[in-house]
């Protein structure tokens, strides 16, 4: 418990008859990057708002940093930063003035807030433009200012809602690097996204949301094993007799399945990395191995596969 930064038990939120979040059990450990993934309207933002005490749960319990968001929101909000979806600033003020307001709301002394503001701006690379009005800022700069905004309170936890939405791929990549840096400095991060391929590289663990339920939870590899049956997909190209290869590859320990995709192309599904063993099989059989690589499973695959299962029933 002590190591769980976020813990929810049967957390439920209803808007009238509509159940936005249904009996959510979530735990996020100290220092990890956790991704809440799912399509729009799956209940991600509602969950985040409940964690921060910005909306009241209908039922269930929540503990964030050991506090109850309904009764002790100030303690949570002093130590947890929130970067909302499409974060807004006072456009007519400069970046620094925006941050000063936030520092004052956090009851920081003038000296302390100046120090932290300088540090935060430095960290997100906005020092040069700190005294320009936010109106002149681009989308990417605003997002970075959002990070500076939460860094001012020296947070133990940062919650980001759709942090990469609206950023071009390069900016998004840069932003994900920034997230990784923050995580490395010991800050726990919870982020929500529907752009699965972007966040899978930065998240230690993910939870898949669907219609208010968390349907899957774990590391990307673990999820792949759960949904696709095994963790590794090896692709190999080799010329030679098809049937021999398939038969021999099947005998390898840990192999789940072998497919013949097209002439000379085979895929191997396995529970561990079997590249060297597979290469040996081909070479021993007298074949000519032309390429061999391991497919990186993407969350998209897992996601699609999972929802196909939901729609059409289990594949087995």
């Amino acid at each position: 418990m002590a190591d769980n930064i976020i813990e929810t038990k049967d957390l439920t939120k209803k808007y009238g008859d509509f159940v936005a979040v249904d009996s959510l059990n979530l735990s996020v450990k100290r220092g990890e990057v956790f991704g809440l993934l799912g399509p729009n309207g799956a209940g991600k933002t509602t969950t985040i708002l409940m964690l921060l005490g910005l909306t009241e749960p209908t039922a269930g319990r929540v503990k964030v940093l050991g506090f109850n968001p309904v009764r002790q929101p100030l303690s949570i909000k002093s130590h947890a930063g929130y970067i909302p979806d499409q974060v807004g600033f006072y456009d007519e003020l400069t970046a620094r003035e925006n941050l000063i307001y936030i520092a004052r709301l956090n009851s920081l002394s003038r000296q302390e807030s100046n120090r932290r503001i300088d540090e935060a701006l430095e960290k997100v690379g906005l020092t040069q433009v700190a005294d320009k009005t936010v109106r002149t800022y681009s989308r990417g700069m605003r997002q970075r200012l959002g990070v500076a905004d939460v860094l001012i309170k020296n947070p133990q936890l940062i919650i980001m809602d759709e942090p990469t939405q609206g950023l071009d791929p390069e900016l998004a990549r840069g932003f994900l690097e920034l997230i990784r840096e923050l995580a490395n400095s010991g800050i726990t991060i919870l982020l929500s996204s529907h752009l699965l391929y972007q966040v899978q590289e930065v998240c230690d663990r993910v939870g898949l949301f669907h219609q208010g339920h968390m349907v899957l939870e774990g590391t990307v590899t673990a999820l792949a094993q759960k949904v696709l049956g095994a963790g590794y997909h090896v692709r190999l190209r080799a010329n030679g007799t098809k049937t021999t290869y398939v038969e021999q590859l099947r005998t390898l320990p840990g192999v789940v399945d072998v497919h013949f995709k097209e002439p000379d192309l085979y895929t191997l599904v396995s529970t561990k990395d079997l590249r060297s063993e597979a290469a040996r099989v081909i070479v021993n059989a007298g074949g000519k191995l032309t390429s061999l690589d391991i497919e990186n499973l993407s969350l998209d695959d897992i996601y699609n596969s999972y929802f196909e299962e939901v729609k059409h029933g289990p594949r087995k």
Binding site: R71, S75, K77, A80, I83, E92, I102, L105
Partner: protein, 326 residues
């Protein structure tokens, strides 16, 4: 769950961060383009009405005999300008509405609301801070106008005001600020109820227009309908007039106008109807002491303050439970 859930008390003070919000609001208001426009309006009003009152006063023969010459500065009108006090009656609501109509929905439309509320403060502090920040701005603006007129009076009349005159004009300033507070609370309420700032502004202006133009007519129609004069008795006429007075006092404009009369015309000893026998023993035209005039307008002042508090409470209720995702 853990024992703290059974404890229904929120941790910490609801006013945490109040000072920061007030300072921010005042700084925003005082540097905004809106304020520039208001400043121009203020100077025009003060100089225009002050100057025309002075001209009127210096040409009048009563000068030197009037005990409260200085107060005349606020109440003397010369066509086409109304008197300063009358001018404030419709300028103040406009200033108050223009300061407050986008206070809450503006935060929503700029998407800053969730960022601000994720700071360690309660919504109480944000709402009250906004109201007070705007209220102090209004107080500042009105004090500036008041000082301008006062200064013009000192220069133009060349006679220093008496203590009673100073006291009365300060009370008038306070009453004007209270009156502005009512319109501000109304605009704040609309800014929490309507998502669009423009809708909130329009709704506030509509209420203002209703009370300024239509309520007087409506009050008289209602009074005629509810207490008709059938036989021409005095009692009937009296009952109708009384009802009309009561109805018209629902309007804050009436309350403010009566307050102005009570404070700035020391000879006024009743704001309602009175019959000749009630004046028995009174020295007509003799001024009331400041304390008595204050007593006279006290119900009006408390009425306006009470209405302000009710309106603020309504915005508080609507804002506390409001979902912050739109």
């Amino acid at each position: 769950m853990a024992p703290e859930n059974r404890n229904k008390v929120r941790e910490g003070s609801p006013w945490r961060g109040l000072g920061a919000v007030i300072t921010k609001e005042m700084a925003d208001n005082l540097t905004s383009a809106r304020m520039r426009i208001l400043e121009i309006l203020i100077i025009l009003t003060a100089v225009g009405t002050g100057y025309s009152a002075l001209k009127q006063l210096s040409s009048s023969t009563a000068q030197g005999q009037d005990q409260f010459l200085f107060l005349k500065l606020f109440t003397t009108a010369q066509d086409p300008l109304p008197a300063f006090a009358g001018f404030l009656g419709f300028l103040v609501p406009l200033i108050a509405i223009s300061l407050a109509f986008d206070s809450v929905n503006g935060e929503f439309s700029r998407r800053t609301i969730s960022r601000v509320l994720s700071q360690p403060i309660y919504r109480d502090a944000l709402l009250l801070g906004k109201f007070l920040g705007e209220f102090f701005t209004l107080a500042l603006v009105l004090s500036a106008i008041w000082l301008l007129v006062f200064g013009i009076g000192l220069l133009g009349l060349g006679i220093p005001p008496t203590g009673a005159e100073v006291a009365r004009s300060i009370l008038f300033l306070v009453a004007t600020i209270v009156y502005g507070g009512f319109w501000m609370a109304l605009a704040l309420l609309f800014s929490t109820l309507f998502n669009q700032s423009a809708t909130a502004a329009l709704a506030s202006i509509a209420v203002w227009l209703f009370f300024t133009v239509f309520w007087g007519i409506l009050a008289s129609l209602l009074a005629q309908g509810l207490k008709p004069i059938q036989y021409g008795f005095l009692d009937e006429a009296l009952a109708q007039a009384k009802l009309q007075l009561v109805l018209s006092r629902i309007s804050p404009n009436t309350l403010f106008a009566e307050t102005t009369i009570g404070l700035l015309s020391p000879a006024v000893r009743s704001l309602g109807l009175f019959l000749p026998f009630e004046l028995q023993g009174a020295v007509l035209g003799a001024p009331l002491p400041v304390g008595q005039s204050l007593l006279l307008i006290w119900p009006n002042l408390t009425g306006m303050i009470a209405a302000t508090i009710v309106l603020f409470a309504l915005s508080y209720i609507s804002f506390q439970r409001r979902e912050i995702r739109t």
